[in-house]
Symmetry: C2
Subunit: 332 residues, 2 copies
């Protein structure tokens, strides 16, 4: 009968505390280094549509490793994947299977390896490699722990992939809708994409993190979504708008609010969009809010929106350069 310590089980529980692949991979590699007292841990994955293994993560980041592709039956990793069995090599210098290329690339010296397949039922996801045990050799009983851990790693990564898939669907969908609305407005090609990226960068610059950064992206994508409620003849009018027509254009922030309000998860996004035409001096719309009364995310979108408008061509003027824009602002 195989039995395990509670502390090990809690370490495994840590794999499931996030649904973000990056965070999960970090936890897995750190946990495995700790459990096996090893110098490094690498995870290789095989994507369904590829016929090679590639580096998925490694506990000490060498970015050049990402380029390496491993043939399915070559080397220790390839053998483990092909045979769907774990393998211990305590002195790689004596192993013909060991592929030296990675060490040559990174300058790292591999001594011992414990590698095991990552799998769940009939699916095989890749291979985990635990490298350089600090105290002595890898032993057969270590394989018991690998066998225990393998399906948990696979499930955690599979769940993260499922979560990311639906998150991608969400982002893909709002980007597509925003572009479809943008397509009605002849002056704004590519604007949505730039505002998404710049909002994210500016939000990062002012110190926002995690979900707030995500919200900056979402608000950036959706900031003009309310234009779907503006009649074509006003949106597409090539001449200067009348005062009445401009009042109608202004309603796009209200329409955006109405579109997003039924979605409870959007409650933090709505103010960022509803107030993105307010001005710091209080001369904006819809409410004439001033200074820090305007929500931070709305101020971010507002700056980025104005910047992109200035940096884009218009029928009546050429785009200003970022340098010129800056000068104009600071010379005032």
């Amino acid at each position: 009968m195989t039995i395990f310590k509670k502390s090990l089980i809690y370490k495994i529980a840590g794999f499931f505390i996030s649904l973000e692949t990056k965070e999960i991979l970090k936890r897995i590699t750190e946990t495995l280094e700790e459990i096996f007292n090893a110098e490094r841990v690498s995870i290789f994955r095989k994507k369904e549509d590829r016929n090679y293994l590639e580096f998925y993560t490694f506990s000490r980041g060498e970015d050049e490793l990402k380029k390496i592709k491993i043939e399915l039956s070559k080397g220790i990793v390839g053998w483990v994947y092909k045979n769907n069995r774990p393998l211990i090599v305590n002195d790689v210098s004596k192993s013909k299977m060991f592929y030296k290329g990675v060490d040559e690339l990174t300058g790292f010296k591999t001594n011992s390896i414990l590698a095991f397949p990552l799998g769940l039922k009939k699916r095989r996801y890749g291979v985990v490699e635990i490298i350089n045990k600090k105290d002595g050799k890898f032993k057969r009983k270590d394989l018991k722990i690998c066998e225990l851990i393998s399906p948990f790693v696979a499930i955690a990564l599979e769940n993260a992939a499922l979560f990311e898939k639906i998150e991608e669907m969400f982002f893909g969908m709002i980007r597509s809708f925003a572009k479809a609305v943008e397509a009605k407005d002849p002056y704004t090609s590519g604007h949505v994409e730039r505002v998404e990226n710049l909002s994210y960068l500016l939000a990062k610059k002012v110190g926002l993190k995690g979900n707030e950064l995500k919200n900056a992206k979402i608000a950036g994508i959706l900031h003009d979504i309310g234009k779907i409620g503006i009649p074509d003849e006003i949106l597409k009018k090539p001449k200067k708008l009348t005062k009445e027509e401009y009042e109608i254009i202004k309603k796009h922030v209200l329409y955006a609010k109405e579109i997003l309000e039924p979605i409870s998860e959007m409650k933090d996004i709505i103010p960022a969009i509803y107030y993105h035409h307010e001005r710091y001096d209080g001369k904006g719309y819809p409410e004439g809010k001033k200074g820090e009364e305007i929500p931070l995310l709305a101020r971010i979108i507002s700056i980025v929106d104005a910047f992109d408008a200035m940096a884009s061509d218009r029928p009546y003027r050429k785009a200003l350069s970022a340098k010129k824009n800056t000068k104009r602002v600071f010379k005032k």
Copy 2:
């Protein structure tokens, strides 16, 4: 030192194999019944904005239980929640804490209870109750297993909630966009919502399951999304359309395809929408496909779309009743 069997750990792994709350709850209750050899398992949860516990699930479904609210410090469940400690009551008839109301409601006879709090770090989610051990009494060593399992249950349910939140965001967003597009078309109020619901029901009726059912809903919601590309003056024209205008209207299926194409996760949805104006006799558009050449989901949307159009008022006729529609079809 506390140690556990591998088989127990694999049972726990089963909690993470899905991200659907319903499926996870089923696995948890079944697993706990098995581990403890108990007759029933109930899970109570405390929602963040409520000051009572409510039934979340129970291993043998009594729907009336759902209505029961449990005060936070009342009964065995309330005590366990309040004190954040497990409790064994091997003869409830001798316990003053035991609340008889549930047994009176269901006709079930509770004898023994092992209850433990569901928590993760500082958050408390609710209480698990294991009811009627079949062989003897609950013992102190059973509490070790509960302590081990509690954070796993909490993490599994938390991840499912996160997944469902983003899924809700996705559905909320596509519904809102579809309604915003619908708002441009004066004849179609409520059409999107009805097509979503009817597509789901018809898909279920013809035997679709799981993801296919979800796809039927998504395609139902988005079937007319391409109308965003149709100029207002044609979409809103109160008179009969010219042949040229009708050709433009027909392009909405192409526009929908263009909007959804950049989203790789939408690849199964696109044909359902692109072909929903094909006809079984080949006289539809855009390609004149016939019979079963038309994808099943597109045929479902097509039927539901036509049904809802017939069953709705138009400026030039009253809505037909479902009964009349049916007669007309079968009398032909």
